[in-house]
Symmetry: C2
Subunit: 335 residues, 2 copies
DNA sequence: GATGCGCATGTTACCGCTAACAAACGAGGC
DNA sequence: GCCTCGTTTGTTAGCGGTAACATGCGCATC
C-alpha cells in the first residue's frame, strides 16, 4: 500500500480511502490511486484490514453434513447472498452432534466472524452460553423458535414448521382414505423427530394412529436404507396401505423396492417422501412429497445477517425475528 | 493475551508459546498458562496470528457449483482432510466460467490463503499468470495435466483421465455388440468434452462412429434434461440401440422416460451413465456407469497441499506431481 | 572457580491496514 | 476581510499476535 501511495503521490491512508470508499476522495486522486493500484497489481490484505477494523467480512456457517442435499441447498443460498456483498462464508461441519457443533463453533469463532448461521436449535448448554456472549448477529435456520422465544435468550430463526409439515403429510394420507399408515424415519435429529410428531398428531386426529407402524432408525438416510426398511415394514405389517418416509432418498429406495417386488404404487401402497429433492418429480410414479424452502432459508438468513452486521449497534438481537418460510405439499402420483 | 499473561505471571510471548508449541515451555508454566487461559475464556485471534506469522491457516477451494454432487464430494474430501489439521477451507464458486474463476480467485487471494485447490485446468491466461506469481502451493483437481506438463508452468494435478473413462464406456457398449451407439451430453465443460472425445475414439476404433448420433447441449445436466434429450434422440434416430449419457442425472432421466415409453432397457436400448452418483445402483434396472474417485481426489489434493504448506521452502512446485486416482466401470443391468 | 552451552523466558519491533483526530484549504456568510 | 464550516488529505497510534534476537540461569566440563 505504501508503494501505491508513493506511486500515486498520496499517503497510505488516502489509498485506503480511495479503494474502499471512493466517494470520500477527490475524483482526481481516486483515478491516480486506481491507476497506480492496478499497475502495481496491489491486492489489499484482508487480514490486515480485519485486524485494524475489527471486521473480518467472514461468516461462520455451521451445517451437519456436506453429503445431505438439504444443507447444501441452504449453503448455496447463503453463499450466493453473502458473496456479492463481499462476505466470505466459513463452513463448519458438525456431523449432527451438538457436542461437535460446539467444538466447531469455538474454532470458527477464533476466526472472528462478523456473523454466525447455525442449523437447528439443538445446541449444548455450552453453545448457548457461547452465543449469549457474542456481540455479533446469530441466526438459527431450518427450524422455528417457539413463539415465546428460547428461554431468556433472544433468538432469530429462519425456517418452517417441521411439525406442521409432518402433520400435512399425515393428514393428506388420511384424506386419501388410507387406514394403515406407517412411518419410516432415519437420521433422527430433532427436526426429523418434529416431522414425526406432526405426522403422529395428524393420525391421532383422524383416529388412525398405531405405534406399531412406526419404524425409526438412527442411521443416515439413503436410497439403500429406504429399500431395506420398506421390506421390513411389509414383512411385519403386510396390511400397511400408506407410508410416510421422512426423507426423499428413503422414499425413492422404497419405490424401487416396490417396483422390484411388484407392489403397485399407489393402488396397494401409497408413498410420501419429504424435502422434494432433485428427481422426486421423476420417479415412477412421480413421488408425493413436501417441498421445503431450503435455498430460500439460506438466502433470507444471509440477508438478515447482512442487515445485522451493517448496523454495528446490535440492537437487532433485542427484537428477535421468527421468519416462517412455509412449505408446500407436492401431491403427485404415489398417493 | 496480555490478561492471560498477567494471570499466569509470565510474558505474552510465553503465553503464545505455551498454547502453540507446548513442548517449548516448562511443564509448570504450560500448566499455569493453560489454567489461566481456560479460566479467562481466552480464544487467540487467528486474524492477528495470521498477520504476524504470515500464515492464515486457510485454503482457497474453487469449484464450479454447489449444486453438482461431483464437486460437493470433492469439497467433502478436502474439508475432512484439512479440518483436523486446523486449516479452514474458503469456498469459492466459479459457475463453470474461467473468467468468473479468475475473479473469484482474485478475491480469495485477498484473504492470503496458504494454499489453493482448483477444479480442472481450464483457466484464463490471467489466472495462469496469477498462479505463476504465487509462492503458495496450488493443486488442480478432477483432471490430469499432460505428461509433459502445462507449457512452461509446473502444475500439480490430482484426478483421473476423463478421456480414458469415456473410452471405457464406448468400448464397453461396443463389446456388448451394440452398433448404433449414441451420445448425450450437457454442461459442456472441458472435462465433459474429454469424456466425449474418449467415447468417440472407442467407437472409431471399433468402426461404429457416427457423428449424427451425438447430441450435445450446453445446459446444466438434470434428470428432466435427460428425459427430454432421450426422446429427441429416439425421434430423430429410432435405430439407436445404446446410449452414453455424460452424467448420471441425465441417465436417470432417460431411464424414467424409457419406463414411461415402454422401451425395454437394456433389451432394446442399452444405457450408460457417468459418475456413479447416489442412487445409480438403485434405478430400475440398476444403471451401468463409471465410478469416479471424487472424494478421494479431494482427500489427496488436501494431503499434498498440507505437505506443500508445511515446508515453507516451496520446492514442491519444482517437481510437479500427477496423481492418477483412476476410475471404475460399474457394469450393472442397463447394459 | 571460570568457561561454555542449552534451555526457558523476556524484549523489541514489526505484520499491513484503518479509526480517530489534526491540518490545510477553499467557499460562503456577515 | 474575517470567521465558520465542509471537504479533502495527512498523521498518529494502534489492532493482537509472532519472529528474531537478547537475556538469565543451571549445569557439565576442565
Amino acid at each position: 500500500m505504501a508503494d501505491v501511495a508513493a506511486a500515486a503521490g498520496v499517503s497510505a491512508m488516502t489509498v485506503s480511502r480511495a479503494l474502499r470508499r471512493p466517494d470520500t476522495v477527490s475524483e482526481e486522486v481516486r483515478a491516480r490511486v486506481e491507476e497506480a493500484s492496478r499497475r502495481l497489481g496491489f491486492v489489499p490484505s484482508r487480514v490486515a484490514s480485519a485486524l485494524a477494523s475489527a471486521r473480518t467480512m467472514t461468516v461462520a456457517v455451521l451445517i451437519p453434513s456436506l453429503t445431505n442435499a438439504v444443507f447444501i441447498d441452504l449453503l448455496a443460498g447463503v453463499q450466493e447472498t453473502l458473496s456479492p456483498q463481499g462476505y466470505q462464508p466459513l463452513i463448519g461441519i458438525t456431523g449432527y452432534g451438538p457436542e461437535a457443533e460446539e467444538r466447531v463453533l469455538r474454532t470458527q469463532l477464533a476466526h472472528d466472524p462478523d456473523g454466525v448461521i447455525l442449523s437447528g436449535l439443538d445446541h449444548t448448554p455450552g453453545t448457548w452460553e457461547l452465543l449469549r456472549g457474542l456481540t455479533i448477529p446469530v441466526i438459527h435456520t431450518m427450524d422455528l423458535v417457539a413463539e415465546g422465544g428460547h428461554g431468556d435468550c433472544p433468538v432469530q430463526t429462519v425456517g418452517f414448521s417441521q411439525f406442521d409439515a409432518g402433520y400435512a403429510v399425515g393428514a393428506h394420507l388420511a384424506a386419501r382414505g388410507r387406514r394403515r399408515i406407517g412411518l419410516i424415519a432415519g437420521q433422527l435429529d430433532p427436526r426429523t423427530r418434529q416431522r414425526c410428531d406432526g405426522w403422529r398428531q395428524a393420525l391421532r386426529d383422524t383416529g388412525r394412529y398405531d405405534p406399531d407402524l412406526e419404524l425409526m432408525v438412527p442411521d443416515a438416510t439413503s436410497v439403500a436404507l429406504g429399500a431395506e426398511l420398506l421390506e421390513r415394514v411389509l414383512a411385519t405389517h403386510p396390511d400397511t396401505d400408506a407410508l410416510f418416509l421422512c426423507n426423499d432418498d428413503l422414499a425413492q429406495g422404497a419405490l424401487f423396492r416396490c417396483a422390484r417386488l411388484g407392489i403397485p404404487v399407489p393402488e396397494r401402497l401409497a408413498v410420501a417422501g419429504f424435502n422434494d429433492l432433485a428427481g422426486a418429480a421423476w420417479t415412477v410414479p412421480p413421488l408425493t412429497t413436501v417441498a421445503t424452502p431450503r435455498r430460500a432459508i439460506g438466502v433470507e438468513a444471509a440477508r438478515l445477517l447482512i442487515a445485522g452486521m451493517a448496523d454495528r449497534t446490535p440492537k437487532s438481537r433485542e427484537n428477535p425475528r421468527r421468519v416462517d418460510l412455509g412449505f408446500r405439499l407436492m401431491v403427485r402420483e404415489t398417493t
